[in-house]
């Protein structure tokens, strides 16, 4: 086992290398590009045996990826943001073809307006497609989640593609110490892909993707995918336990941070959860009984785990780094539905929108969140409303941008 300082992107490339992937269709997009460039370099130097094709778009990239997986190859690819939504049509197709590949998404907020900074509207748009989704907080977790994702995705009772998500810039370009497991250990955890069902390179020719044009058949196939995600939920603990046994790192579907005696829980995902943890620690020092639950597995949604972690608490605040325009936070809605009907659910479940377009949290905002949890709004309408984290100072900054846009001020004078 080697330890190295790796960016989130190179940790993802390392995982693909250790998984001994066969095929990598690629198309560049910031902040993902380093992943496929790293793999290209290793292919060039002969350090890995994979084949890479540089495609003309993410749509064709995902099309090629799915077809390759359907031939029984182990496929890896990566994209971000606009690339993910440009290839969106293929996401449903790949899941429907039951092609178990791993797609890394490096989160970046969607156009328009155009930006490069992260939020999760890109990856969460894919939540209904049939892809499994793992969201990582650290570079180590990126590497480990990809290995676990292959195990789960390729399992004969699952056979669905998986997305592993990491935040652009905050993880993609940040170096952390990462343990790179021994190839032999990885091989025993994740042997080569041997599809259990007929595929495009099997002994008997077959056609994939046939039209069914029959509501009953369509329902059957679609619901089978849902069953497969239920299987994935059931298989996850086994796989995570095996991973922990072999590599010493244990990953729940939800990471529980200072939750033991917590009255109040903040729910977050991805790398910004690190900022949340720092504030939880500070509030703990100030004597507050607060903790943080970080959702790692987004699909299948860990319904029961959410219930286990949040029941009996006085309050929970979901910080969504996304916005479903016209509704509010996506994960808030999902968590609320998981808690519905639970007699000892937290009486206050609050929704906060923060971190859009990479906006950083401010320490005082966590004080505000806790205050709101301790004295939640009384009206039922008010309690479920999303609350936007945004400061007066930012309002003033926006005003300044407007004056640049209207020609009153020059941008480079700033």
């Amino acid at each position: 086992m080697a330890r190295a300082l790796l960016t989130g992107n190179s940790a993802a490339a390392w995982a693909a290398r250790l998984a001994e992937v066969d095929y990598v269709p690629a198309f560049p997009i910031t902040p993902q590009t380093e992943i496929v460039e790293t793999l290209a370099r290793w292919i060039h130097t002969g350090e890995i045996q994979a084949r890479m094709v540089t495609m003309d778009s993410e749509h064709s990239m995902l099309a090629a990826a799915g077809a390759a997986a359907a031939t029984g190859a182990r496929v890896f690819t990566a994209t971000s943001s606009q690339g993910l939504v440009y290839g969106f049509e293929m996401l449903y197709v790949l899941a429907g073809l039951r092609a178990p590949l791993v797609l890394v998404n490096v989160s970046r907020a969607l156009s328009h307006p155009i930006t490069l900074e992260p939020d999760h509207n890109d990856v969460l748009a894919a939540r209904d497609t049939g892809f499994l989704q793992f969201h990582a907080e650290s570079c180590q977790e990126v590497l480990d989640s990809i290995l676990m994702a292959y195990r789960l995705a390729e399992h004969e009772r699952v056979l669905l593609p998986a997305i592993v998500n990491l935040d652009g810039f905050y993880l993609s370009f940040t170096r952390e110490a990462v343990e790179i497991p021994e190839p032999a250990d990885v091989k025993s955890f994740l042997p080569g892909f041997e599809p259990a069902y007929p595929h495009l390179s099997g002994p008997a020719p077959l056609a994939l993707g046939a039209a069914v044009l029959d509501p009953a058949l369509y329902t059957f196939f679609k619901y089978q995918m849902h069953h497969a995600t239920e299987n994935a939920l059931a298989l996850y603990p086994e796989i995570a336990a095996e991973f922990a046994g072999r590599f010493g790192r244990r990953y729940g579907m939800i990471e529980e941070f200072m939750l033991d005696d917590a009255d109040y829980v903040i729910v977050m995902t991805n790398s910004f959860a690190s900022m949340g943890k720092a504030e939880v620690k500070r509030l703990r020092r100030e004597g507050k009984k607060i903790g943080l639950a970080r959702l790692r597995l987004i699909r299948p949604f860990p319904h029961r785990e959410i219930q286990r972690v949040l029941r009996g608490r006085k309050g929970a605040a979901v910080i969504d780094q996304n916005i479903s325009v016209g509704k509010g936070g996506i994960l808030f809605s999902e968590i609320a539905s998981a808690l519905y009907g639970l007699p000892d659910r937290p009486p206050a479940l609050l929704s906060f929108i923060g971190g859009l377009g990479g906006r950083r949290f401010r320490p005082e905002e966590f004080d505000g969140i806790l205050a709101r949890l301790e004295a939640p709004p009384e009206s039922p309408e008010e309690i479920a409303r999303p609350y936007l984290l945004f400061s007066d100072e930012e309002c003033r900054d926006v005003g300044r941008y407007f004056s640049v846009a209207s020609g009153e001020e020059k941008s480079h004078e700033a």
């Binding site: 910031t30 460039e37 290209a40 540089t54 003309d56 778009s57 606009q82 440009y86 155009i114 640049v404």
Partner: protein, 311 residues
Amino acid sequence: MSLPMMKEESKSRSVEAKREGPKLTVKDFKGRVDPDWCPGCGDFGLLAALKQALVELELQPHEVLTVSGIGCSSNLPGYVNAYGMHTLHGRAVAVATGAQLANHKLKVIVTGGDGDGYGIGGNHFLHTMRRNVDLTYLVMDNQIYGLTTGQISPTSIKGMKTKSTPFGSVENPINPIPLAIAAGATYVARGFTGQVKQLVELIKGGIRHRGFSLIDVFSPCVTYNNDNSHEFFKARVKKLEEMGHDPTNFHAAIDKAYLWGDAIPIGLFWKRTDLPSLDELEPVLAEGGPLAHRPLGVSPEAAKALIQVLM
């Protein structure tokens, strides 16, 4: 039965823009933000040529719309004082088609990179040419993906080593000139940002031309493409005017378009004026001026008459 038409003054269409306002200078077309391109980037040359062409055509900023996709080159609309849209990677000509048909009095200029136009946007490129939409498409062709910091593009030469092809590209590049001629573009030219004077003329010709104009412009990326540098092109480009080329000769145009090596032709390869542009094929557009300037909606009389018919 006939429905009462909405009253519309029928404006005759002139290809030349209406002259109004004072004669402008290049400074008047300068945008509010300065380009963030690398010093020495070819795109500066194209930006200068475009502004010069707009001045020489005596166009006013409000008569011009620039539309782009995503890429270094696609940042251009922000640097020009005119209407502008910065859209999505590969979508510029589709967006521009919508704007041109809704307001066919606008001079719609599309700008972007080779990746944007010939790669991810290749499908729109082909079909917009086939339809002969009245657009002027300026492709800053640097044979690389610049904004994503140096990967192979559809015009990268075979064997080129980039960050995505450290082994050297094994693919054949697209040659946009014969492609455009075959697909139905009616004005097809190639320019070089090192030959700004000629480029200004090519752009002016493209804007004046009614129909789809492609101007593929060698616009070297000084940061990520050391193969196709300014010096590389400077030593090789040869003006078609000086080669005795007749841009109405289809076969000669195709032949010249395939020349590559010690002499790479630049200039106007192909032009035909006998085909109508898409907006000219829409009788409804000829009737009452740009859609954007017509009262939208249905007049009460027309609505009543329609209800009568349906009852």
